[in-house]
C-alpha cells in the first residue's frame, strides 16, 4: 500500500520533471505555422499567453528535414562539440587518472593541502575565474582556438575527485601483492589501478561528457570565430521563424548525451553506491 502511495505522489512529479523533454519532442514534430501560433506571445510580441498541445495538430517532419538536410552549419558545430568533448575526455583520462591515483595511493608532503586546494578550485564557478583564465590564455595565444576550451577542462579537478574515491576503495592488500610481483608503480597503476578503478573512471568520463557537451560560457568567452563554436551555441541563434529547427536541434543535441548516459548508467550507479557505502 505504501508503495502505491509513493507511486501516486512520485509519478506526477516525474511527469512534471520530464515534461520539458516531452514538449521538446512534440515541438520538433509540429508544423512551423502551429509553432508560431503557440509561441508568438513570447517570441514575436503576440497577444495572449503561450499555449501548447501534447499531440501536434498537424504533425510534420519538416523541421527534421530542414535541420538534417538544409543546415550544414549545425553539423559543423556538432562535430566541433564532438571534437572538443572527445579531446577533453582523453585529456582528463591521461592527466586526471594519474593525479587521482597519486592522491589516493601515495603519501607525500602537502598532499592534504594540495587536495584541499583541488576541492576549493572545484567549487569555484567559471565566472569567478573567467577573467584570469582569459588573460592567461591570451598571453599564450590560445584565445580564439579550441585549445582555450579544451586545455582548462582537461586539467579540471572534478574528475580527479571522482576517480580518487574509487582508487581509494581498492584494497591495499591487492596492491601490496602486486608490489611483490613488480616494483614499478606505473605498472601497478596501469595493470591494477586502472582496471580496478574503471568504474570511477567511466563515471568520471560520463559526467565529464555531460558537462563538456553542454559547455556554453567557455566557448562564448574564448571563441570569437563562429567556425569553432560547439553545438551548445547553435541554439541561442534561433528565432521564431526557426523555432521548429530549434526544437529539432535540441532533440538531436540531447541524443548523444542520453546514449552516453545509458551506456554508463551502471557505472554511475555503482560509483554513487560505492561512495555512499565505502565513505
Amino acid at each position: 500500500m505504501r508503495w502505491k502511495l509513493a507511486l501516486f505522489v512520485l509519478l506526477p512529479l516525474a511527469f512534471l520533471v520530464c515534461s520539458p523533454v516531452l514538449f521538446l519532442l512534440t515541438g520538433s514534430l509540429m508544423d512551423p505555422g502551429e509553432l508560431s501560433q503557440y509561441l508568438s506571445p513570447i517570441l514575436s510580441q503576440g497577444k495572449g499567453y503561450v499555449a501548447w498541445r501534447l499531440v501536434p495538430q498537424s504533425p510534420s517532419l519538416r523541421s527534421y528535414v530542414e535541420l538534417l538536410l538544409d543546415s550544414p552549419e549545425f553539423f559543423a558545430m556538432f562535430w566541433n562539440s564532438v571534437r572538443i568533448t572527445a579531446l577533453i575526455l582523453v585529456g582528463q583520462l591521461l592527466v586526471g587518472a594519474p593525479a587521482a591515483w597519486g592522491f589516493a595511493r601515495f603519501q607525500f608532503r602537502f598532499r592534504k593541502t594540495l587536495f584541499t586546494l583541488y576541492l576549493i578550485l572545484m567549487l569555484m564557478p567559471f565566472q569567478v575565474t573567467m577573467l584570469s583564465s582569459f588573460l592567461v590564455l591570451d598571453s599564450i595565444h590560445l584565445i580564439n582556438t579550441q585549445w582555450s576550451v579544451i586545455l582548462p577542462a582537461v586539467f579540471s579537478t572534478f574528475p580527479v575527485f571522482l576517480m580518487y574515491r574509487f582508487f581509494r576503495s581498492i584494497p591495499e592488500a591487492i596492491l601490496e601483492s602486486a608490489k611483490l610481483d613488480t616494483g614499478s608503480a606505473f605498472q601497478i597503476f596501469l595493470n591494477i589501478g586502472l582496471p580496478l578503478g574503471s568504474a570511477g573512471i567511466v563515471s568520471a568520463l560520463v559526467l565529464g561528457f555531460l558537462e563538456n557537451w553542454n559547455l556554453i560560457e567557455q566557448p562564448l568567452a574564448f571563441l570569437k570565430d563562429k567556425t569553432l563554436w560547439p553545438l551548445s551555441l547553435y541554439l541561442p541563434n534561433i528565432d521564431l521563424a526557426k523555432a521548429g529547427v530549434a526544437f529539432t536541434g535540441s532533440v538531436v543535441t540531447l541524443l548523444p548525451a542520453l546514449l552516453v548516459f545509458l551506456s554508463g548508467q551502471d557505472y554511475l550507479e555503482q560509483g554513487i553506491t560505492a561512495a555512499a557505502i565505502k565513505g
Binding site: P72, E73, N191, P195, S198, V260, L262, D266, Q270
Partner: protein, 573 residues
C-alpha cells in the same frame, strides 16, 4: 592471487570484476539480485555508434544539398564607356512617287494586261473592261441624266412661282401701310383739334369767369346785414355812453348829497342794465346774421365757379383721352402694317436643291463622257506614265472598285527606303541622322545615308516611319534591308550591363558581394547597393558613381535567381 610473470599474463579483470567485488558486498547487504547490467549498455553503445554514423551521413548530405542550392555568380567591375543608342529596323525599298490608275467603278474586268512588278510605259494597256457593261452603264447614266433634267425644270418653275408670290405680298403690305397711315393720321389730327379747342375754352374761362344772379342777391343781403350790425353796435355804444354819463352824474349827485356814490352808480347801472343787455343782444344777433350772410355768399360763389370749370376740365380730359387713343391706334396700326412689310420682305430659307441638281447633272455628264470615251477605246484602260506596277486591285470577272484599280510606282522620282521604329526611339534619331543599310544576300552595305523624313504612322500612333533617300541604282525596288543608326553619347565612368541591374519600386540596385563570418567559415552573401541611372540603352546603363567604391565588383550573372542576403559562391574561372 597468482604470480605476475609478464604483462601479457596478467589476468584481465572483467570491467565488472571490482564491481563484482562490490556487488558481493552489496548482495550481502541488500540481498537482492542485480539484473544483467550490460544489455542496455551494449545497446546504448551500439545506438551511439549508429547515431554518429548517421550524423556523418547527414553531414555529407547537408553539405551536398547546400552546395546545390547556393547560387554561383560571376563578378564584374564597372566599365568606362559611352552609352550608344543603336536603332535597328527592317524595311523595304519603295519608289518615291506612286500614282494610281482608276477606272469607272462597277464595270466587269474583261482582261488584265499587266502583273505586279511589271514595268509599263506611257499608253501601255493595263486592263480592259466589258463592253456590254459599259454600254448598259452608259444607257443607265443617260436615263438618269434625263430624269435630272426634268427635276431641274420643275425646280426652276417652283422657284419662279414663289418669287412672284413674295413680290405680290410685299406690294400689298406697302399699300396697306400707306392706307393705314393716312386714315390714322386724319383721326389723330381731328382729336388734336378737339383737344386744342377744349383747352382754349378752359383758358378763357379761367381768365374771365362770368358773374351770376344768385350771387348778387346774396351780396345785397350781406351789405344789409353789415349795415344792421353797424347800427346795432352804434346804438350799443351810444347807450353805453349814456349810461356812463348817467353814472357820472349820479355819482356827482350822490357825493353832493352825501350818499354812497357806488350805490348811486349801481342804481343807475341797474336801471340801464336791461337796455344794455337788449342792445348787446341786438348787436350780437346782427353780427351773427352778418356772418351767416357772408358765409352763404362765399359758398355760393365757390360752387358756381367750380362747377363750370369742372365741366371745362372734363371736356379737356375727354378730348385728351380721345387724342391719346387716336395716337395709340395709329401707332398700333402702323406697327402691324410695318411688320407685314417686313414679313413680305423676308428672304426665303436657303434651298440648295438647284445647286445640287446642277452638280449632279455635271457629274452625270462627266460619267457619260467617260463611258463614251471608254467605249470609243474599246474598253481598254491605258497607263498615263512610265513606271512599275505595284499593286492590282482588280480581278478578271469582278467589277472594278470604287478607288484605285492599279497602283504604279513612278520611277522618275527615284527610290527610298522606309522602315518603322517605336515612337520611344524618336529621341535617338532625327532628320539628317546618318544611317547604314544592310541589304540581304551578297549586296554591299550602304553607309553614309541620311534620314529624309520621320513621320507618325497613321494607323498606329506608337510607331514612326523613317524614310531614307537612296542613291540611284543602289537597291532594287521592293527589296528589303536592315537599317542601323547609332547615336553616340558622352563617356560615362561607371557603366554596368543591364542584366546586372535589378529594379524594385521604381528604383534600381546592384548586387555586390559581402563576406561574413559564418559557422562554416567565411561566407559570401549578396548585398544590395542602390544606384541611380544616368542613361541607358538596351544593353548597358551608366550609373551615378556616388555609392560606388573604386574598383567595386558587382554580381553580373548568376545561375539562380538572387535576392539580397542570399549566400553565393563564386564561379571558378
Amino acid at each position: 592471487m597468482e604470480r605476475l610473470h609478464s604483462k601479457n599474463q596478467l589476468p584481465r579483470p572483467h570491467p565488472g570484476s571490482p564491481a563484482r567485488l562490490i556487488e558481493i558486498d552489496l548482495h550481502s547487504l541488500i540481498g537482492r539480485r542485480r539484473k544483467k547490467p550490460f544489455t542496455l549498455q551494449a545497446k546504448a553503445l551500439r545506438a551511439l555508434a549508429g547515431f554518429l554514423s548517421l550524423m556523418i551521413f547527414f553531414t555529407v548530405l547537408s553539405r551536398v544539398a547546400d552546395s546545390l542550392t547556393i547560387a554561383r555568380v560571376d563578378l564584374q567591375e564597372t566599365q568606362k564607356r559611352s552609352i550608344d543608342h543603336k536603332i535597328t529596323a527592317s524595311g523595304q525599298v519603295i519608289a518615291n512617287g506612286a500614282k494610281t490608275v482608276t477606272s469607272f467603278p462597277g464595270i466587269r474586268v474583261a482582261s488584265l494586261a499587266v502583273k505586279p512588278g511589271e514595268a509599263v510605259a506611257e499608253n501601255d494597256p493595263l486592263f480592259s473592261l466589258s463592253l456590254e457593261d459599259l454600254q448598259q452603264k452608259l444607257e443607265e447614266t443617260e436615263l438618269e441624266l434625263e430624269k435630272l433634267n426634268l427635276d431641274i425644270r420643275d425646280q426652276k418653275s417652283r422657284e419662279k412661282t414663289e418669287a412672284d408670290s413674295r413680290s405680290t405680298a410685299l406690294a400689298r403690305a406697302l399699300q396697306d401701310y400707306n392706307d393705314m397711315k393716312s386714315e390714322t393720321g386724319k383721326a389723330v389730327e381731328q382729336a388734336q383739334k378737339i383737344l386744342t379747342e377744349a383747352q382754349n375754352r378752359l383758358e378763357e374761362y379761367r381768365e374771365n369767369p362770368p358773374p351770376h344772379a344768385d350771387l348778387e342777391s346774396l351780396q345785397l343781403i350781406c351789405e344789409a346785414r353789415e349795415k344792421a350790425l353797424e347800427e346795432a353796435l352804434s346804438a350799443l355804444d351810444a347807450l353805453q355812453t349814456t349810461v356812463d354819463q348817467q353814472v357820472q352824474e349820479a355819482r356827482q349827485q350822490a357825493e353832493t348829497a352825501g350818499v354812497d356814490p357806488d350805490e348811486a352808480e349801481n342804481s343807475v347801472r341797474a336801471s340801464y342794465e336791461q337796455a344794455l343787455n337788449t342792445a348787446a343782444e341786438k348787436a350780437e344777433t346782427a353780427r351773427s346774421e352778418k356772418q351767416t350772410a357772408d358765409h352763404d355768399l362765399a359758398a355760393a360763389s365757390e360752387q358756381e365757379s367750380s362747377s363750370q370749370e369742372q365741366e371745362l376740365l372734363d371736356a379737356v380730359s375727354i378730348a385728351q383721352q380721345n387724342f391719346d387713343q387716336a395716337v395709340s391706334a395709329r401707332d398700333s396700326a402702323l406697327k402691324a402694317a410695318a411688320r407685314a412689310i417686313e414679313d413680305a420682305q423676308k428672304s426665303p430659307s436657303a434651298d440648295s436643291s438647284a445647286e445640287k441638281m446642277e452638280m449632279e447633272w455635271q457629274k452625270l455628264s462627266e460619267k457619260i463622257e467617260e463611258l463614251q470615251k471608254l467605249l470609243e477605246n474599246g474598253g481598254v484602260v491605258r497607263s498615263a506614265f512610265d513606271g512599275v506596277v505595284d499593286k492590282l486591285n482588280i480581278e478578271v470577272g469582278n467589277p472594278t472598285p470604287d478607288g484605285t484599280a492599279v497602283l504604279i510606282s513612278d520611277l522618275s522620282q527615284g527610290t527610298a527606303f522606309i522602315a518603322q521604329i517605336p515612337a520611344e526611339q524618336e529621341k535617338y534619331i532625327s532628320v539628317g541622322s546618318t544611317v547604314t543599310l544592310k541589304p540581304g544576300g551578297d549586296q554591299k552595305e550602304l553607309t553614309g545615308l541620311t534620314v529624309e523624313s520621320i513621320q507618325k504612322v497613321q494607323k498606329d500612333s506608337e510607331l514612326l516611319e523613317i524614310t531614307v533617300k537612296l542613291p540611284e541604282n543602289s537597291l532594287k525596288l521592293g527589296s528589303s534591308a536592315e537599317m542601323e543608326a547609332v547615336q553616340p553619347s558622352k563617356p560615362y565612368p561607371y557603366c554596368v550591363p543591364l542584366s546586372a541591374l535589378q529594379e524594385e519600386n521604381g528604383g534600381y540596385y546592384l548586387l555586390i558581394i559581402q563576406e561574413d563570418a559564418g559557422f562554416l567559415g567565411p561566407e559570401l552573401t549578396a548585398a544590395r547597393l542602390n544606384v541611380e541611372i544616368l542613361e541607358k540603352n538596351e544593353s548597358y546603363a551608366a550609373i551615378d558613381g556616388g555609392s560606388l567604391v573604386a574598383g567595386q565588383e558587382f554580381i553580373a550573372d548568376s545561375n539562380k535567381p538572387l535576392e539580397a542576403g542570399d549566400r553565393v559562391r563564386l564561379n571558378q574561372p
